[in-house]
């Protein structure tokens, strides 16, 4: 019984510590999101919404411009955080941002043939938060910008819409959004 009391006491201490840690963490998240980095928090949420794109040119033309405009390396560069090509198929490209030891962000650009040209969706499939904020918001912002620039270079009349308006259409994109949600 006494031994049990000691164990219980230690467990209670650990639990109290854990609760304090959580309360501190929540407070920090709240302060960051609501006060110090309110703009960054909103911007991070907005950036994660992705892009819906329609272009009249074939995928190959877009792929070529993506190679030009997207600043990604072929593999992670040691401890430096970089954007790198994770995988590439005829129907899409997956990028990751991070170091060799930690991936902080994953994003996918998926293509689907349309009646007049090609439809594409740019989606963030995995991300991390640090103290309540998107950990790699700048990298994501840059990637979105470069993807948009690549499409505009391939097709000046491209239509790029922020977010994904019609979710019923998303099944065409090889399950990109299954992992995103």
């Amino acid at each position: 019984m006494e031994f049990f009391s000691v164990v219980l006491g230690i467990a209670v201490l650990i639990a109290v510590g854990w609760v304090f840690q959580k309360i501190g963490g929540f407070a920090l998240v709240g302060v960051n999101r609501g006060l110090f980095f309110r703009g960054e928090y909103k911007a991070g949420k907005h950036l994660r919404e992705g892009l819906t794109i329609h272009t009249s040119v074939p995928v190959s033309a877009v792929m070529r411009e993506l190679d030009t405009y997207v600043c990604a390396v072929d593999a992670p560069l040691g401890f430096s955080e970089v954007l790198y090509n994770e995988s590439r198929t005829d129907t899409g490209i997956a990028w990751a941002f991070g170091s060799a030891s930690k991936v902080k962000l994953e994003a996918v650009l998926a293509f689907s043939p349309a009646e007049t040209g090609t439809d594409a969706i740019f989606a963030v499939t995995r991300w991390f938060e640090e103290d309540g904020l998107l950990a790699s918001a700048d990298a994501l912002k840059t990637l979105r910008l470069q993807v948009a620039a690549a499409f505009r270079a391939a097709d000046p009349a491209v239509t790029i819409t922020e977010g994904h308006a019609d979710r019923s259409e998303l099944s065409r994109f090889d399950g990109v959004f299954e992992s995103a949600e």
Partner: protein, 503 residues
């Protein structure tokens, strides 16, 4: 279990509990302070960081009739990158090289990758396509190390591509981007900047050491003064470096650059603004004269203050130091806010909202009489659920712009979500216009979820044209990034408006 054991366990538990709580508190406080520091850095360096972000985000794409091997050879001459990272200091060196790509980095053996950039070569339409990309730029707490070196590398690559096959230009490029000739103005300035920086570092280290190990109360103003002087030296060294860069830019552009302006932090951007140069020259010189007068007065005042201070009792001295520190904190806060908020900070102050005289005549903004929001202007209710705002459409154009191009200002009026209206002027620093080139606006600052009406005074523009102008400089094609003191950010667009190239 006897009483003694219980007491020991109880005390042990209490100590453990206190350690646990204080550890958690310290951890949270430490993270909070880190965040505060990052927040401060972001506020102070926002404008510069935005420029750097833009440079990193947009690859430099060029084409040349010269072959890739010829361009590589010119790059080797002008960039002059080392073949490996130096053991100490920092230098641009080659990480790898193939027939179609050269990868550069900045750093040394210990910190090898302050930035990583590559120059890729390909073929397009029978010509060589050259793409400069920044792959990585180290950032710590909002400070981007190596950004200036990256900018120089980018410029030198651009120059080298243009100079390939022209020995005269290559020789000139070597002068611009290569190591300075001994005894040249650039070499002297670089040496002086380094000396000033080291003096600043020495002052800072000595002051911190003395303050850390304890000084007499009466001596503390001296060491706080040394701290401030150290910071001043670092700032001056940075300005001198900026001057060297501005001179390089000016030499490339074939126009002179004003030393006073650059040291005051106005020159590099102002020099690019057609028509604004003379005004800023005068402003900078006036500021320099005023600065000299103020410095003389300050020195006299400091002498008197020092004499008065030594006459005080230790308790009064403490009070004085406390008050001075409080004033410094408040002033610092005000200055940092002033630097990062409000459009057009740093622009010539000769333009005020009163200059925008609807219906009036003379220089400045003279809109046509029918510049009023249309009857069916969207209201706050029209905001889309995700916080996007619609621009209030204007019926027509602005007339009466000066023809000499000296007035480069726009008046932006907006109605906030709650119905309050206000306006501000986009000044020269916020609007870059270059001859017949498309105008673009950057760094427009508004509150999130605003409804806006925009006027241009330098040329007649319709709403659609205005939207085009904005879209041109926007981070996201067809929309505008709104920032307000880095607090909020959203995008705005015209509901019925579609730019010619689509969003």
């Amino acid at each position: 279990m006897d009483q003694t054991t219980l007491a020991i366990i109880g005390i042990g538990g209490l100590i453990l509990f206190v350690m646990l709580v204080s550890g958690v508190l310290k951890s949270v406080l430490s993270r909070g302070i880190d965040n505060l520091f990052a927040f401060g850095i972001k506020k102070i360096g926002k404008k510069r960081n935005d420029e750097i972000d833009q440079m990193v985000a947009v690859p430099l794409v060029m084409t040349s009739p010269a072959s890739a091997s010829q361009i590589m050879s010119t790059l080797d001459t002008i960039v002059g990158a080392k073949k490996a990272a130096p053991p100490l200091g920092g230098a641009v060196y080659e990480v790898s090289r193939t027939a179609s790509k050269i990868t550069y980095a900045l750093g040394n053996k210990l910190y090898p990758q302050n930035f990583v950039a590559e120059v890729g070569f390909g073929e397009r339409d029978g010509q060589t396509q050259i793409v400069f990309k920044c792959l990585h730029l180290t950032e710590k707490d909002g400070v981007r190390a190596g950004a200036d070196a990256l900018a120089i590398l980018r410029d030198s690559v651009e120059y080298a591509v243009g100079a390939t096959g022209d020995p005269e230009r290559i020789a000139h490029g070597l002068k611009l981007y290569g190591p300075p000739e001994p005894g040249s103005a650039r070499a002297i300035r670089m040496r002086n900047a380094k000396t000033v920086l080291w003096i600043g570092v020495a002052l800072f280290v000595v002051a911190m050491f003395k303050l850390g190990t304890g000084v007499k109360v009466s001596e503390s103003p001296l060491y706080f003064g040394m701290l401030l002087a150290g910071a001043g030296c670092a700032y001056l060294a940075q300005r001198m470096d900026r001057l060297t860069a501005a001179q390089r830019e000016a030499e490339l552009a074939g126009s002179p650059v004003d030393t006073v302006q650059v040291l005051l932090g106005e020159g590099a951007q102002a020099a690019r603004l057609e028509g604004a140069l003379e005004a800023t020259h005068a402003a900078a010189k006036t500021a320099a004269e005023a600065g000299t007068t103020a410095a003389t007065a300050l020195a006299k005042g400091a002498g008197r203050a020092s004499a008065a201070y030594t006459a005080l009792s230790p308790k009064s001295r403490l009070l004085v130091i406390g008050a001075a520190l409080a004033v410094l904190v408040v002033v610092g806060f005000v200055i940092s806010n002033g630097q990062s908020s409000g459009p057009g900070s740093g622009a010539p102050d000769s333009v005020s909202e009163a200059d925008y005289n609807p219906g009036g005549t003379g220089g400045g903004y003279t809109p046509s009489a029918d510049v009023t929001p249309v009857d069916d202007a969207p209201t706050a209710d029209d905001l889309t659920p995700n916080g996007h705002a619609h621009w209030v459409q204007l019926p027509d154009i602005i007339a009466g712009a000066p023809e000499d191009g000296s007035s480069r200002h726009a008046l932006v009026t907006y109605t906030a979500e709650g119905g309050d209206s206000d306006s501000f002027i986009l000044e020269a620093d916020d609007i870059s216009l270059g001859g017949s080139d498309p105008a673009y606006i950057h760094d427009i600052q508004l509150f999130s979820d605003e409804l806006g009406q925009c006027y241009f005074d330098d040329q007649p523009v319709s709403v659609d044209e205005f939207m085009d102008l904005i879209s041109y400089g926007s981070a996201t094609p067809g929309s505008i990034d709104f920032t307000q003191d880095a607090i909020t950010r959203s995008n705005a667009y015209s509901e019925d408006y579609v730019p010619p190239n689509g969003y």
